[in-house]
Amino acid sequence: MEQKKVRRWNTWDNPWLNTKFLIGISIVILVVLFGLLGRIFWNVELAYVGSSPLNLPPVWQGGVPEHPLGTESNGRDMLAQLIVAIPSSFKVGLIAASVGMTAGLVLGSLAGYFGGWVDAVIRTLADAVVTIPTLAVLIVIAAFFTMRDTTSMALILAMFAWPGPTRIVRSQVLSLRERGYIRMAVLSGERPFGLMFREMLPNMLPWIAASITGNISGAILGATSLEALGLGPTRVPSLGTIINQAQTSSALIRGMVWWWFPPILVLMIIFTSFFLITTGLDEIANPRLRGLNK
């Protein structure tokens, strides 16, 4: 007898081809490309004080083509500022998130694997750090250390980026440790630590990725908040600093929308696409969330 041909694995069944995830990733890539390629096509020197005429509106509101997005009260070209600011924001996010993730992976695996007092100490510390309002401590730090570059800011932000990944890795290790195939691997004489990474990492991947994206946008938010309060490195333009300068120069009241709005728009796009990536990853990791919209 002949069985009808069964339709096998469909490419679109691959969970990593999640719409939200893909849209988020593409937007992030576009924004990064804008920042990186922008400096080839545009003079970034215009991002500094006094390089351009003051208070020019964007070109569609009667400005000049030399400064298509207009200029602000200190004679900085808005387009050039954005081009300089975007990569630096991503740099802060990436450094802080990767340092935080590394710490989280190590601490989380230790806590989950060894349990007992190691777990208790790490978990309690993580819980405590999560509770502390980050901004309060960041403000104290920023008030006493002059932050000259974005790297030092990123490292400070990383101090608060580890509890999230630690929790996730810990709970994943705990739940995976109990699964049959891990037990089998231990019984077959594999070394605990190597095993943990080889066998467990593929399972944890979406969670870890979600945690990293969450941390990147968290760090960008932290940096932007400090900058918006006027505590960031002031010489290099950054998205938060532009908002701070617009705010302190009353750009809102003066109707200079082209000054305060572009950095906010860019940040909203960045945060929203990171959010899409995180929710997408969440659906990848947790199949039950998928296909509910049908």
Binding site: M1, Q3, K4, V6, R7, N10, D13
Partner: protein, 347 residues
């Protein structure tokens, strides 16, 4: 080929008892991205008054799906795509939710699988019992407690359980709470979904006893799902065997154990271990087919020892071979009939 006209084998069920539940051509399917899975296909049977019907089969054969369909609680992406389910003669398939709610628990109740998770952990037992009553009756507050305590008494639960939370009870006690809950409104039919499978052997025995007692006292009909053939043999009146979404045989339990008709039933009965004799473990060959691609003809053709060409062309129907006894295999039916004709079959 056989010479007996198979049409003659289909008789009207010569049964005098009232049928409280009739399932007719029930079809349930699960829609998956790679095609629909028929979890219950053309299932038909009836349940008589005061009868316990066992529903057995290997995991994934559709027994729980069938039970859930009777309760109209098939979970998405599954849905009932055809057939009728009649309780005391009234069909409940396709009636609106608000209508359906009136049948739930008053006519049809459930003793769930895994009582461990079937009670809401954050609500007291008394509240969960009361919820069921209040959903269907206007009961005075002062009448509530004596009524629940009486039910506890019926199933052998101490009174203190009334004010407790589920996590304070043992597994057996939780299962008793579930039994008490199932009879709170005197339903016509109780569906027990492997009511003892999560318990240890001793508790299993006691809980099974409780279920039987309750059933005797209330004169309720039950469908008991299970895979433990031994337990089934002791508890049920009739047993229904399912395979790959289809009902293959249904009949009085003693008859089925002594003289299994369908090849699959024979396999199941042979698989029951016995202390008296050591028999070689029979390896069941062949795999269940892909449920997305049901073959034409008999569902059991890939595993059947007696498969013939005709089995692969035309699906068998339910052939009656005795009182309340039906089988979904033409050849088995013929064999059973001829045995009966020859007088070799005494039931």
């Amino acid at each position: 080929m056989s010479t007996i006209n198979t049409e003659n084998l289909i008789l009207d069920a010569p049964t005098d008892a009232k049928k409280v539940l009739e399932v007719e051509n029930l079809r349930v399917q699960y829609d998956t991205p790679r095609g629909a899975v028929r979890a219950a296909d053309d299932v038909s049977f009836y349940l008589k008054e005061k009868e316990i019907l066992g529903l057995v089969g290997e995991s994934g054969c559709g027994k729980t799906t069938t039970a859930m369909a009777i309760l109209q609680m098939v979970q998405s992406p599954g849905r009932i795509v055809g057939g009728q389910i009649r309780i005391n003669g009234r069909n409940i398939v396709g009636i609106p939710e608000s209508e359906l709610r009136k049948y739930r628990w008053t006519e049809l109740s459930l003793i769930p699988q895994g009582a461990m998770n079937s009670l809401n952990p954050v609500i007291k037992i008394k509240e969960q019992m009361a919820d069921a009553i209040r959903a269907h009756e206007n009961i005075k507050k002062k009448d509530l407690k004596p009524r629940i305590l009486k039910l506890f008494n019926d199933v052998g639960l101490p009174e203190r359980v009334y004010n407790m939370y589920p996590h304070e009870l043992s597994g057996g006690m939780k299962q008793r709470v579930c039994i008490a809950m199932s009879i709170v409104l005197n339903p016509s039919v109780i569906i027990a979904d492997e009511p003892t499978s999560a318990l240890d052997v001793v508790v299993q025995r006691v809980v099974a006893q409780t279920i039987l007692e309750v059933k005797e006292r209330l004169g309720v009909s039950m469908i008991m799902i299970g895979h433990d053939m031994g337990l089934q043999a002791q508890m049920v009146d009739r047993v229904a065997v399912m395979y790959a979404g289809r009902l293959v045989e249904i009949g009085p339990v003693m008859k089925m154990f002594k003289n299994p008709t369908h090849p699959y039933t024979q396999l199941l009965i042979e698989a029951i271990p016995s202390i008296k004799e050591k028999k070689p473990l029979k390896v069941t060959e062949g795999l269940t087919h892909d449920l997305r691609n049901t073959p034409e003809g008999c569902i059991y053709q890939f595993r059947c020892e007696h498969v013939e060409d005709s089995c692969c062309n035309e699906p068998p129907r339910m052939y009656q071979v005795g009182i309340d006894h039906f089988v979904s295999c033409r050849h088995a039916a013929e064999r059973a009939r001829s045995m009966e004709l020859l007088g070799g079959y005494h039931g």
